[in-house]
Amino acid sequence: MTTDIKLTIRGGIDKNGLPDKITEINIIPGDIVGIVGPTGSGKSTLIDDIEQLAQGDTPTERIVLINDEKPDINLRVDPRQKLIAQLSQNMHFLADMTVREFLAMHARSRGKGPELVEKVIELANSLTGEPIYEDEHLTVLSGGQSRSLMTADIAVISDSPIVLIDEIENAGIKKQDALRLLTGEGKIVVVVTHDPVLALMASRRIVMKNGGMCDIIYTSEAEKDICNKVIEVDDWFMSLRETIRQGNSVEEVA
């Protein structure tokens, strides 16, 4: 999906009411932008500002523009017109419905048909260990299963030109596969992460401190080389983890 869309974040204030050092960021399709910083530094708040298309009406007073304009109210609230899909840090569903009922209703809220339900479940099961069944209740799913289902749901049902991802590495799912699924081609991707692979896969990363956007680091050529090495280490680490999960010895993998 290729769309002509530009996302602009205008700086607001940090937790002490001081202005963001970064006053404006523009993001275009195909861009992956990271958000990094210590826990409590305002990473999730920044991503929430984007999800809400904040207009100076959130505690950070930031302003988010689409194509240099204040977005129409319906773009902010109507899921049928929403430009943004968000994978938050929530690991559990609270809705007491079956997987099928929930997905069918979510598809409807996004103006799409029920035929997507099976596709979501199939995709979710490619990311998680124990399979998810359509007649299961959402509330009995494990954290990893819920997270896989949320990821697949975003890839298939909430398929939007702007994708926001909050700490996908914590989910206990295959993070690179999940990221590939979510980002697709030609989307604007903003990813909150502590993970070196994900942070270095971004073309630049916003550094958060005390609630404010304090710096932007562009991923250098040297960092990209490091990223490739980290991916090798990470793959090895993941294969160890998978082997242990399957109840096998890691002697051969090591």
């Binding site: 959130t58 609270l94 809705a95 209703m105 949320m150 975003i154």
Partner: protein, 232 residues
């Protein structure tokens, strides 16, 4: 005088949302006053009082809190006028979900908690179905998908309402709500309710303590749905 009647299940965040909304109303140059109705006890008046707006508490005690609100609406408006207010915010106790204390010439606001699950909008009844604005709260605790499903369910039962996704902790949604209150129609005399209150004139309403069926008279509905009048 504008009248904003706010109803919603206990713990849904009515007071927190209103606190932020009142601040926003004041910043925009309005003079809001608040009447908080509760059944037995409340300390919300001190929370509202800190904002420097006129506050009045009504405790319904032995009367149904929604009936109490309806019965006292004229008095509340008179009181707010006397306080020099131009907007009266009425926060109801909101308990049984069967009454909706919304008059026709008011802005009817229903506050509902997303974490109660997407079947809740089907259970809430006229409180939700006759509201002009539905404020959904605690959306930060669930996924975007769950928020969207909840929204869909609200629109199923009230297709014409305006939905505001709010957050009582951060104040998200308060500016939007304040704008809508500001734009609402002036209230009038001789207002009519939007929905009939339930048929509930029975002996229990007047203090009967016995449980056994033989002690009860009035308009009574059986488990199987049969409704009868017993009495003189």
């Amino acid at each position: 005088m504008k009248l904003a009647v706010t109803a919603g299940t206990p713990g849904s965040g009515k007071t927190s949302i209103l606190l932020h909304t009142i601040k926003a109303l004041k910043r925009r140059g309005n003079n809001p006053a608040v009447v908080k109705v509760d059944c037995l006890w409340t300390d919300d008046d001190t929370r509202f009082g800190r904002l420097g707006v006129p506050v009045k508490v009504g405790l319904s005690k032995d009367m149904c809190p929604d009936h109490f609100t309806i019965y006292n609406t004229d008095d509340m408006i008179e009181w707010a006028k006397g306080e020099g207010a131009d907007v009266l915010i009425n926060e109801t106790a909101g308990l049984c979900l069967r009454c909706a204390p919304y008059p026709d010439n008011c802005l009817a606001i229903c506050v509902i908690d997303v974490t109660t699950g997407p079947n809740t909008p089907l259970k809430v009844g006229p409180l939700l179905t006759t509201a002009d604005i539905v404020v959904t709260t605690k959306g930060d605790i669930v996924s975007q998908a769950e928020r969207e499903v909840f929204r869909e369910r609200v629109l199923e039962v009230n297709p014409d309402c305006m939905i505001i996704e709010a957050n009582g902790l951060t104040g998200k949604g308060a500016i939007e709500l304040a704008e809508l209150i500001e734009m609402s129609e002036e209230t009038s005399e001789d207002m009519m309710l939007r929905h009939t209150p339930p048929l509930a004139i029975c002996t229990l309403c007047t203090g009967e303590m016995h449980v056994s069926r033989k002690y009860h008279m009035g308009v009574l509905r059986h488990l199987d749905g049969f409704t009868e009048y017993r009495g003189e």
